[in-house]
């Protein structure tokens, strides 16, 4: 079982790295959003430290959204999704492999970039560590919940427009707990509670969403 899973994972990672560099685009978008915020709200370093957790969390979610509409669509258009569906690998595991590949290419990359942006937002060291950990724990939920939206809209030509409308409300808990953990550390309270809730949300999303995504893929393939 691990053979086809790893093959699919590596294939998707290669596609992400070579086909248009969606990871690099997501990172640039993330950095650009983070640059626009001080231009909008002013360069007061105390204010920036205060809003950094929320701004960087929202920016990371939006950046991860950018490449989501292609999660299944490219494979759907050229027919490889049908081959994946016919392969001995259960479609749920195939969906999980794609979610994992998407997270490695965007969520993890965004997490690794976040300390640099946090530094520019004057976030103190302990809060910066919490931001890093919360992104590390929470961004898998973005890829997982996003996969449901991507599979729902996969047959649509303009799926990229409707996808954010569908999944952003569902990602509210991730933003609240992620930014909340950073805010708690800034206020001098332990952010462990929020981080725990974030991990629970993230874990449940990763466990459950492959089933929903696989169901949507099946429905789009049956015609």
């Amino acid at each position: 079982m691990s053979g086809p899973f790893v093959t699919l994972l590596l294939r998707d990672l290669k596609l992400a790295a070579r086909g248009g560099g969606s990871a690099a685009l997501a990172l640039s978008f993330f950095a650009l959003v983070a640059t626009l915020v001080p231009l909008g709200v002013g360069a007061d370093l105390n204010l920036l430290a205060r809003v950094a957790g929320g701004v960087l969390w929202v920016g990371a979610v939006l950046a991860a959204l950018l490449s989501l509409d292609r999660l299944f669509q490219g494979d759907f258009e050229d027919g490889s999704l049908e081959l994946i569906a016919l392969s001995p690998l259960p479609l749920e595991l195939a969906a999980l492999a794609k979610i994992l590949a998407h997270w490695l290419a965007t969520g993890l990359a965004l997490t690794l970039l976040s300390p640099l942006l946090a530094l520019m937002f004057n976030l103190p060291g302990n809060a910066m560590r919490m931001l890093f950990v919360s992104l590390l724990v929470g961004t898998p939920a973005v890829s997982a919940v996003g996969a449901i939206g991507a599979s729902l809209t996969l047959s649509l030509k303009r799926g990229g427009l409707i996808l954010p409308l569908i999944i952003l409300p569902l990602l509210v808990p991730a933003v609240i707990f992620g930014a909340g953990a950073v805010g708690a550390v800034l206020d001098g309270i332990a952010g462990g509670g929020a981080l725990g809730l974030l991990a629970a949300f993230s874990g449940a999303s990763v466990l459950l969403s492959p089933f929903a995504a696989a169901a949507c893929v099946r429905l789009n393939l049956s015609s």
Binding site: L152, I166, L168, P173, I176, F177, G180, L219, N220, S223
Partner: protein, 236 residues
């Protein structure tokens, strides 16, 4: 299950709803007449004054908004698991009312908030979660409209509705964790003065009857539309 499938046939549903609709309309009008009369004649609240009357429009709207989502979720399960033929039509027909009741709850809440909290909008937990519910309704309706193939649209919308049904309690919990200013519920816990309880319950019934009436009309319209379309295709 047997009971549900007796009305799965559209022709059967049309016959039944034809008989039930006048009763529903009458019951709705009666409930609104009684509810509004009671709501306008109860003594003003000692703290809120006459503004308390907004509650009789606000709380039932919010209750109806969540009830409609429950109805959509049940229809979606019926459609996904048992392929109940009418439930897709029913789920699609219910969504705009859900959005409408949610919007009504938000607007009446804002009107009440101005004299009570001194501002139309606060980022309080319940207001925010209702705003998110409105967006969830928008996304659900947008998905229905975006997919052309009706069978596929129905299945996709049903899956989204169930994902939303799992997620809505989590969203509600997280938003509550985030901020709370709205007063807690006061009906079950007995904090509501008994004089206000009667008009509130009657108005809740009135809103639900209104939903039932309009929902039935919309399902009937959808069935008739489909018949007209197939007749035109047959003629062409």
């Amino acid at each position: 299950m047997q009971f549900l499938f007796r009305y799965a046939n559209p022709a059967q549903f049309m016959r039944l709803s034809d008989a039930a609709l006048p009763l529903l309309v009458a019951a709705t009008l009666l409930a609104f007449a009684v509810g509004l009369y009671l709501g306008l004649t109860v003594p003003p609240d000692y703290q809120q004054g006459d503004s308390v009357r907004i509650m009789f429009l606000h709380v039932p709207a919010a209750t109806a908004a969540t009830t409609v989502y429950g109805a959509i979720a049940v229809c979606s399960i019926l459609s996904l698991v048992w392929r109940h033929p009418l439930s897709d039509t029913a789920a699609r027909a219910a969504a705009p009312f859900g959005a409408l009741f949610t919007a009504l709850g938000l607007v009446t809440g804002a009107i009440w908030g101005k004299p009570m909290w001194g501002t139309y909008w606060v980022w309080d937990a319940r207001l925010t979660s209702f705003l998110l519910l409105l967006f969830i309704y928008f996304g659900y309706m947008a998905l229905w409209n975006a997919i052309e193939d009706e069978v596929k649209a129905a299945r996709a919308a049903a899956i989204l509705a169930l994902v939303g049904a799992v997620n809505i309690p989590i969203i509600k919990f997280s938003v509550e964790w985030w901020n709370t200013l709205h007063q807690g519920e006061s009906i079950v816990s007995g904090h509501l003065a008994p004089v206000f309880l009667a008009p509130l319950l009657v108005m809740m019934l009135a809103y639900l009857l209104l939903f039932a009436t309009l929902w039935t009309v919309r399902i009937r319209t959808a069935i008739l539309e489909r018949r007209a379309r197939s007749l035109m295709q047959g003629a062409a």
